[in-house]
Subunit: 340 residues, 3 copies
């Protein structure tokens, strides 16, 4: 078998679905973080509590703790994302880890090495953690299964976004943000707005919100950008934004991937904004104390109006701060002996 | 407002000029380092003294001090410069800071994020210092004003070169070099040679030399490469190099930006070298103990002859060493509680 | 002399050959590591022993030692190699050094700076070690000679691969691997298979194996990929793989540089594999406990069959682990006061 050009592995989803979730050990501890699907309410709260304990750290003069001292964290990004890579890099350094950044496109896969060969090589360098972003859904699963198969329990994988599938640390930071501002998940109405179909953020958020007991999760978007099967996930579907936003406590705006634009999926930016852009006028349908979230980077005037993005209900920048704490928490729990 | 492609902000210079210099706090301390214009003689000497205290550090076996331990320094380079980025990276690491390098061209601005949105995001990651290089004059000013406006006094900006405007740490390392070799600024004749018009180094040097009491600052260059208004800055203008170098103590050669060549501004490289290249013959017009400086990288045979660059009067490499110390000093003063 | 575009220095090989090896000090200590040629058996074993002491470190919870604390290691890669750069980066960080990565193509040489000017600048930043990869044979020699000439004994160069010439740390990790599995070099038959002509790995391995007393070193490859002068190096040449592998204890497969393919030097990949690819069938000619090595990344189905690469005799991944330890050893010995 010759792999001159890197052909991404065809992910055997059916098989993966039937297999035990490779992120849990046999005795129920978290070995990797690949998805929030199936993560228990207790585990989610343990992660959020740990993250909260790191939040106060930022106010200290020395913002470091030695939990991962001497550990090596590899940021393996098959898909470029300076912002996400930076937050993981900062989180790892605040835990005193050594961080190595690898942009794999420019590297060995271009020399014809398979994904798993690359993995095996990095594992042989005594890595402790792989933070993986990949444009193929399921790639971190294959890597985790492989590590489990070769019995490398000392290496932990964090999925930093895989294709359309999951972005669990974004989901966690969103939950940390909601818990911070709204306290009790069981009293909330949460709306997720935009391109649900292509959004790994939406998928991770829905799993977490449902598990944490949010009684009403809504998605709002045009028919073409909504996946099937939402009803089975217990989610309410809206196509009209004013209707969907009525009386919600939390609004999660999704980023519009403009590269979708030039397909048939979307009308013009202006038309999209008219229907699904969050403006002051539409925001007024939500509860007056509703918070506005966005995973960033925002497209001003496309999915959100500037005055809303900069307004008093927006918590978009606090989300970034919570993101560092959430990533520190996951790293500390997986590799720093912080339980769960 | 939609910012699909990154359009650099139009800098409102008039407004900036009239505003209080955003690098000083109300009580006169240095909050950011954006320019040497307006920095007092006392403050300059305080920075140089601090830098000098770090110079000896390089002779130690362990070259680190813990002044910035736990602090996060972001090198935000909108314009590529490995050399300058490296000196800031080393300076920060010697102060025990965590360093994150961001090449912003390849990053979020390409996703349509504005400069200030990028800033806000990085600020939300609990950064302590932004080292900023930008090809737009004034960009670090906008960033500093924004930080002041949102009351983030915990974040300090160092201008690592903005357009044609300023390169204050280069100015400081030049002053450190001159003070090291010549001791007393008030006895000196200093000549700056070359493309003054496009040089942020020249501008920073002229401000610092004037403030530090150098009685005679000369600039030497062709009419097309000299800005207007030099006389008001107290600078003497020469077009003939031999005349301009006569009896000077310090010669600061500027780098010739070859990309200027293919305009009408400059004749051929050979002709430029004939008129303004520093040769042994021309150097002889200066004082016999004159030092020859250059911000690097040098173009041998264009602005400086090889035997002069490698000769006994050249202090071009010591400048590089002084550059690390000068950058450590600025960082320590801004964020390490080192006064000023 | 104008160096607008970077023209790599013509390496004066004859002169270099006649000069004293610049990697040794006058009193016989290792100042740089440029090649394994001429490194004594005692020194090789000292390096291997030091590496072995670091191997156990990887099992510890905190994998760091403070031998290079406060030292600055510059990874200067004129030729891209994420894998090799990463191993040096990890090795340096485990020794507690500060690491600065420089990709020089994208940097100052593109601004017209000569190799030695770049070097001088980095040296002026108080570097302690340069890890250099360059596509020109001899480039690290020029750099070492220059450092010796300007009397910068405080800076150590490690050759991380120069053209076709040498890759000494790969040679060392290969020796560490062989010693680990086979104990006594003086009882071994070792075969190196593939493109010997273009392989700096082969060259470094042959020097080390010979010095360490391996009685029979064989090379196997097509006539077009074998250099002349092998007999003088005490090496046995084979063109037939089955013949060459007969009864060997160690097989070192070389990576096929596919870019050689489209010359006249090589037939098709399939034909190459038929003749020189390592299959189970051919492996059976070697001793049953023979180990299979490869510097990586492997081309499955070109120079090695997948079942051999993943089989029980392959030690390709352990080589990667040994590589970290070997590089730590060289760094510790050169700059960490670890003797030799």
């Amino acid at each position: 078998m010759n792999t001159q050009t890197y052909t991404p592995p065809a992910v055997p989803w059916a098989e993966l679905r039937n297999a035990r979730n490779p992120q849990m050990t046999a005795d129920g501890r978290l070995q990797h973080l690949l998805t929030l699907e199936g993560v228990s309410c207790d585990t989610l709260h343990h992660i959020l509590n740990t993250a909260e304990s790191f939040l106060s750290l930022s106010d200290h003069d020395v913002k470091k703790v030695p939990l991962l001292r001497g550990k090596s964290v590899f940021n393996i990004f098959f898909e470029n994302s300076t912002r996400t890579r930076t937050t993981f890099e900062i989180a790892a350094k605040r835990l005193s880890a050594d961080v190595v950044n690898l942009n794999i496109e420019a590297s060995s896969t271009s020399k014809g090495e398979t994904l798993l060969d690359t993995m095996d090589n990095l594992a042989a360098m005594h890595a402790d953690m792989f933070v993986v972003r990949h444009n193929q859904s399921g790639a971190p699963y294959l890597m985790a299964q492989h590590l489990n198969r070769i019995d490398r329990k000392d290496i932990h994988i964090i999925n930093a976004g895989d294709g359309r599938h999951a972005h669990p640390t974004q989901g966690l930071l969103d939950m940390l943000t909601i818990r911070h501002y709204k306290k009790d998940f069981t009293l909330l109405r949460v709306a997720i707005v935009g391109d649900i179909l292509h959004s790994r953020v939406a998928r991770s958020d829905i799993h977490a919100l449902t598990t944490l007991g949010v009684p009403e999760v809504r998605v709002i978007g045009p028919q073409t950008l909504l996946p099937s099967g939402l009803a089975q996930m217990g989610v309410h579907v809206y196509h009209d934004m004013r209707e969907g936003l009525r009386d919600v406590d939390v609004i999660i705006m999704l980023r519009l991937q403009k590269e979708r634009m030039h397909g048939a999926l979307l009308p013009s930016e202006a038309e999209y904004f008219a229907h699904y852009g969050l403006t002051t006028e539409k925001l007024a349908y939500a509860r007056p104390d509703a918070i506005v979230m966005h995973p960033g980077p925002i497209n001003r005037g496309v999915e959100i109006a500037s005055d809303v993005a900069d307004g008093s209900q927006a918590v978009i920048l606090p989300q970034v701060s919570f993101g560092i704490a959430a990533r520190m928490a996951v790293m500390a729990i997986l590799a720093g002996g912080h339980g769960a």
